[in-house]
């Protein structure tokens, strides 16, 4: 994917969360958004995922600019996948039904086709034994992996992952990170908001450091993590990577 953001501003009331944020990536498989909490990463990701409409500015993926109306944004959301920090699975449905729902009701597969399509990924990620359980009966890691599968089974153009491991304990974090690393190997494009810096460094083709609603540093992972000229960015990494 190739992402171009121009002068993106998002205000909530009098608070300016994104302030004329601009970025232009090369052709990348994966982009990580890192930086301090409250800096605007998640707000940016929600706009990229078509969940929120920015106050002003444009977002362009591979030459196509995101529209600003709900109908077109919904069509756009059907072509991408989003994974949330707190999974947001539907608690009244089993894991399998969570996966089938978008296939049947959004992508118009028959129920049988949908069931067939989710079977292989469920097996591949060792989740088929749990497929008939509801989210409350699954661990956090299992829930998050189901949530990632739900976003993947519709064969999206790209995925947006919003701090997918920050609600998980270390063991579960590992199983989710393995799965995201698998995404990279399979060639699925994704944008990832994360606090797992070492992981971001490992999987992301490019990293953007977002702070105070703007891009403080951007480039290949190594250059951002180690050679950032911005003093705030350097101080941040010194703090979190020591």
């Amino acid at each position: 994917m190739r992402l171009t953001i121009k002068d993106l501003t998002q205000t909530f009331g009098t608070t300016r969360v994104l302030d004329k944020l601009s970025i232009e990536t090369g052709r990348v498989n994966s982009l990580a958004l890192v930086g301090p909490s409250g800096g605007g990463k998640s707000t940016l990701l929600r706009i990229l995922a078509g969940l929120d409409i920015p106050t002003s500015g444009t977002v362009t993926f591979d030459g196509t600019t995101l529209q600003r109306d709900e109908v077109n944004l919904r069509l756009y959301r059907r072509t991408v996948g989003t994974v949330f920090q707190s999974y947001n699975l539907f608690p009244h449905l089993s894991a399998r039904e969570n996966l089938i729902l978008p296939l049947v009701h959004v992508h118009r597969l028959s129920r049988d086709e949908a069931i067939a399509r989710v079977e292989e990924p469920l097996r591949r990620f060792q989740l088929h034994e749990h497929a008939d359980k509801r989210p409350a009966e699954l661990s956090g890691g299992q829930n998050q992996r189901i949530a990632i599968l739900r976003a993947m089974v519709v064969r999206p153009k790209r995925l947006f992952l919003d701090e997918p491991t920050s609600a998980l304990d270390p063991e579960m974090t590992a199983e989710v990170l393995d799965m995201i690393e698998g995404l990279k190997e399979s060639g699925t494009d994704f944008v990832l908001v994360t606090h797992a810096m070492n992981f971001a460094r490992r999987v992301a083709d490019e990293v953007a450091f977002i702070g105070d609603g703007t891009v403080l540093s951007h480039g290949p992972a190594e250059s951002v993590f180690e050679n950032s000229k911005n003093s705030r960015v350097a101080a941040f990494f010194q703090q979190v990577l020591r």
Binding site: L51, R74, R77, S86, P91, P102, H105, V106
Partner: protein, 244 residues
């Protein structure tokens, strides 16, 4: 001891005590006089059953629609829902029935008192249902709507497939209670001369002068309507239940 066995034991104990108390009532019981009018009880019970069923379905629909009004962004729509709920909840059903039949139905040329009665009863119960549904809908976290939008569901699909099934589980006990009230409130339909269960029992009383004998069957008849409803609600609660 199983739960249903315990229910049976307690119900039997209460019934026995009531029967014992009945034997303490001075004077003779006159069941034969009332038995002659059994047909009146049966027809009244059937009318109450039919009216209640129709009003029950309608009131759930009204409740849901008004609950959506109450949560609407548009202030005019919200105000419509709010004023409806406040007027209905703030006035007696008796007055609503009289006004509904003699004023509103008359104005629009609706003459069938059964239809008017059912509509007023449904409108009355619907206002209470609306508040119950609204509470249930509001209790569903915003992240669920987010998630539904993220996978590309339309607003209506999100409501039907994600929000409503979760809200129904939350409101089921309260809705069942409201429906039981609706069945008992249907006794007020006698004021617009509908021959429902209570009115017929009262008539039997005036023919036979056997007050208790006329009203005891009434209690049993209403229980025959409300107990299956409670049982169904508990069964639904169980089949809808899941941990959050």
């Amino acid at each position: 001891m199983s739960r249903s066995f315990a229910h049976l034991i307690v119900a039997a104990a209460v019934t026995s005590l009531l029967i014992l108390a009945c034997f303490q009532v001075p004077g003779d019981w006159n069941w034969s006089g009332v038995w002659e009018y059994r047909q009146k009880f049966i027809s009244g019970w059937l009318v109450t059953l039919g009216l209640s069923l129709a009003a029950l379905v309608l009131s759930v629909a009204i409740g849901l629609i008004v609950a959506l009004f109450l949560g609407a962004q548009n202030p005019l729509i919200e105000a419509t829902g709010r004023i409806y709920v406040e007027i209905i909840r703030g006035t007696p059903l008796l007055v609503q029935l009289l006004l509904g039949f003699y004023v509103i139905a008359n104005a629009v040329g609706l003459e069938n008192r059964f239809v008017v009665g059912t509509l007023v009863l449904a409108a009355f119960s619907g206002a209470y249902m609306a508040e119950i549904f609204r509470g249930g809908l509001n209790a569903i976290p915003k992240t669920q709507r987010d998630s539904a939008r993220a996978i590309g569901l339309t607003q209506w699909q999100s409501f039907r497939l994600v929000i409503l099934p979760q809200a129904v589980r939350l409101v089921l006990p309260a809705i069942a209670g409201q429906l039981v009230s609706l069945i008992k409130d249907s006794s007020l339909l006698s004021v617009i001369a509908i021959s429902e269960f209570t009115l017929n029992a009262r008539e039997v009383n005036s023919f036979t002068y056997s007050t208790l004998e006329s009203y005891v069957p009434l209690a049993i008849g209403y229980l025959m309507l409300t107990l299956p409803l409670s049982a169904t609600s508990r069964w639904l609660e169980k089949s809808f239940s899941y941990e959050r």
